[in-house]
């Protein structure tokens, strides 16, 4: 088990190094210059050169890369070129916002998706078809468009929920319950957007996995010995179907973060995705690098966690690993 985990962690580290290097190359080779944006069109070439030297952008690319890796590893993530704020502070605000959004929607999507898939796998063909049409439609919704439609409905027509940001303008003056209520109201629409799409995908997959298990002989045995349909589903079908589902959960993490980038852009949610989009557009190198590295760490860590949970759910894998 430990050696297996070690190998996976090593593979994760390789992915991480690759992502960071690739990002560095891409963002540097892209045309556009943060210093020109910073100093504006009236800056003289001499002024530009001074600022570039101050930021260390006049050195060879390889040297800049080595310096960045060294500093990043020591925890010195630099300052944002566009805003002058320390990158660690910027991301320190953004990471919890993204984790709250992505984490909650992931949990809700899979709980709801599993429930729907379980219901569907034992339902009559007509109900099954009706649910399938619903889940395939949810799955096909573009996050940014669904977000806009929810804003149109719940903000502009019904005046129920706020559409932008994580807190209201008066958030600093609020205390206790009203502060919490303000947070939750801002959380509702972005969360609903990501979760609705997530439920579609999770339910589709859960239905397939459960149908596969349901056609196996041991399920017929369980039914034949008189177990109630609920117990058959819960004990025999769901547990076995959980293995591919949890694996998919890990594989869907990159896609979920990608989806969050767009949903954050729509709702002006102050997360990593929105910071990243802004930073790429402004060629704000330190922010792009740190935000990509943080996203990659989260994805890799999520995949490791998935591996562990699959081993925990499936006693066969657990035992195999212990013996080897």
């Amino acid at each position: 088990m430990l050696s297996h985990l070690g190998a996976r962690a090593l593979a994760g580290a390789v992915v991480l190094a690759g992502v960071v290097t690739l990002t560095f190359l891409l963002v540097r080779l892209a045309p556009g210059d943060p210093v020109e944006r910073l100093l504006g069109p009236t800056a003289t070439p001499a002024q530009l050169a001074v600022q570039r030297r101050a930021l260390g952008l006049d050195r060879p690319l390889a040297a800049q890369y080595a310096i960045w890796v060294g500093r990043f590893a020591r925890g010195d993530w630099g300052r944002s070129i566009a805003t002058g704020r320390p990158v660690r502070v910027l991301l320190g605000e953004a990471v919890p916002a993204t984790l709250a959004l992505v984490g909650t929607s992931l949990i809700l999507s899979y709980l709801l998706g599993l429930a729907v898939g379980a219901w569907q796998s034992g339902a009559s063909p007509r109900v099954d078809t009706a649910i399938s049409i619903t889940t395939v439609t949810l799955f096909a919704l573009p996050g940014f468009w669904l977000g806009l439609m929810l804003v149109m409905t719940f903000t502009y027509w019904m005046h129920w929920l706020p559409a932008f940001g994580a807190t209201g303008l008066d958030a600093d003056g609020l205390t206790g319950w009203s502060r919490l209520a303000d947070r939750l109201r801002h959380f509702a629409l972005p969360l609903a957007t990501l979760t609705l799409i997530g439920v579609g995908g999770a339910a589709r997959f859960a239905r397939g996995a459960m149908r596969d298990v349901r056609s196996q002989p041991f399920v017929r045995t369980a039914e034949a010995k008189g177990l109630s349909p609920f117990l058959v589903t819960r004990r025999h079908v769901a547990r076995n179907a959980l293995i591919p589902i949890v694996t998919l959960l890990g594989l869907s993490l990159p896609a979920l973060f990608s989806g969050a980038v767009l949903v954050e852009a729509v709702f002006a949610w102050p997360g990593v995705g929105r910071r990243l989009v802004e930073a790429v557009q402004a060629r704000d190198y330190p922010v792009v690098m740190a935000a990509t590295a943080v996203t990659a760490v989260l994805v890799v860590a999520g995949n490791l966690l998935t591996d562990l949970s699959v081993a925990w759910i499936d006693p066969r894998i657990r035992r195999e690993k212990r013996q080897s």
Binding site: A11, V14, V15, G18, V19, L22, T23, L26, V27, L29, A30, P31, G32, P125, T129, V136, T137, F139, A140, L141, P142, G143, F144, W145, L148, M149, V151, M152, Y156, P254, A255, F257, S258, G259, V261, L262, A265, G273, L276, V277, V280, Q281, R283, V288, T292, T295, A296, V299, V300, N303
Partner: protein, 284 residues
């Protein structure tokens, strides 16, 4: 495969895709013919769906803030979105077949390194990669196709790799080698044609995905650039007029969802038709 045409999912998917493609090809016949036509903007902007303007032109889906006909833009946007999606999928299938075929046929360092590359690209957050790649050059339609193709080939490569590997051990391949056929020819003439069947499923699913991602990129402003209409940049421009003209953003979104649903259903039906263990599903 014959059961496919009786599968309602496949029938719906194919019919819808044919309808959208037909409308896109016959653009000038089914619409006003000019997606960027502006007349008297003040008099024709934000007309509701089913409205007729002062000049007597009928607007099925209303007009946007420049008085442009939303239905015409939707039809011409379909041309852009479908073309971008199809070419991007084509590119990713070509890359995927090359990588997967090579990885399946040549064991040793070639296989190990190509599979590692595939897993690596698969682990990258795709939108981040798309954003960075899209920043490499001035946003353009060609760039979107290249970027989507370069980030979408991995599932095809994995599929082809598995198929090629299992086919390479079959007697008919051994027979071809024993007859003295060169290795490259065995791969091209005997293995790849047999390995490509499951790729059809990836094409159907990938098309929906590519059209959706094109819209996402155009929505973020790094994809197809206005005034060329694409469904993504139409939604982006409708975002600003969500309060007084919700139909501008709603119409392209509905079109997008329908096409992606059609692709997904078609892909599911193909998958079931190709996989004998789930054939019972297509009987319904």
């Amino acid at each position: 495969m014959r059961g496919l045409w009786r599968d309602r999912r496949a029938a719906f998917g194919l019919a819808l895709l044919a309808l959208v493609t037909g409308a896109a090809v016959a653009g000038p016949l089914v619409s006003s013919g000019n997606p960027t036509a502006q007349h008297d903007v003040v008099a024709t902007r934000f007309l509701r769906p089913l409205a007729t303007d002062h000049a007597g032109s009928f607007h099925v889906l209303g007009t946007d803030r420049f008085g442009r006909d939303v239905w015409t833009r939707l039809v011409y946007g379909a041309r852009v979105s479908l073309t971008v999606g199809a070419l991007a999928v084509l590119l990713s299938v070509v890359i995927g077949v090359l990588v997967g075929g090579a990885a399946g046929y040549w064991p040793g360092p070639v296989r190990t390194s190509l599979l590692a590359l595939t897993d690596f690209v698969l682990a990258l957050p795709r939108v981040v990669l798309l954003l960075l790649l899209a920043a490499m050059a001035r946003p353009s339609t060609v760039l979107v196709i290249v970027v989507l193709g370069l980030t979408g080939w991995m599932s095809v490569a994995r599929l082809v790799h598995g198929e090629v590997r299992s086919l390479a051990a079959r007697p008919f391949v051994e027979g071809a080698i024993a007859l003295g056929v060169s290795r490259g020819r065995v791969l091209a003439r005997h293995i790849l044609p047999n390995a490509l069947t499951p790729v059809i499923v990836s094409v159907a699913l990938g098309l929906g995905n590519a059209i959706m991602l094109e819209a996402s990129l155009s929505f973020l402003g790094v994809g197809v650039q206005p005034p060329t209409p694409s469904w993504g940049n139409m939604i982006a421009s409708g975002r600003d007029t969500l309060v007084n003209a919700p139909w501008v953003a709603a119409a392209p979104g509905v079109a997008l969802v329908l096409v992606v649903v059609a692709c997904t259903l078609l892909g599911d039906a193909l998958q079931d038709a190709l996989d004998p263990t789930t054939r019972y599903e297509t009987v319904r």
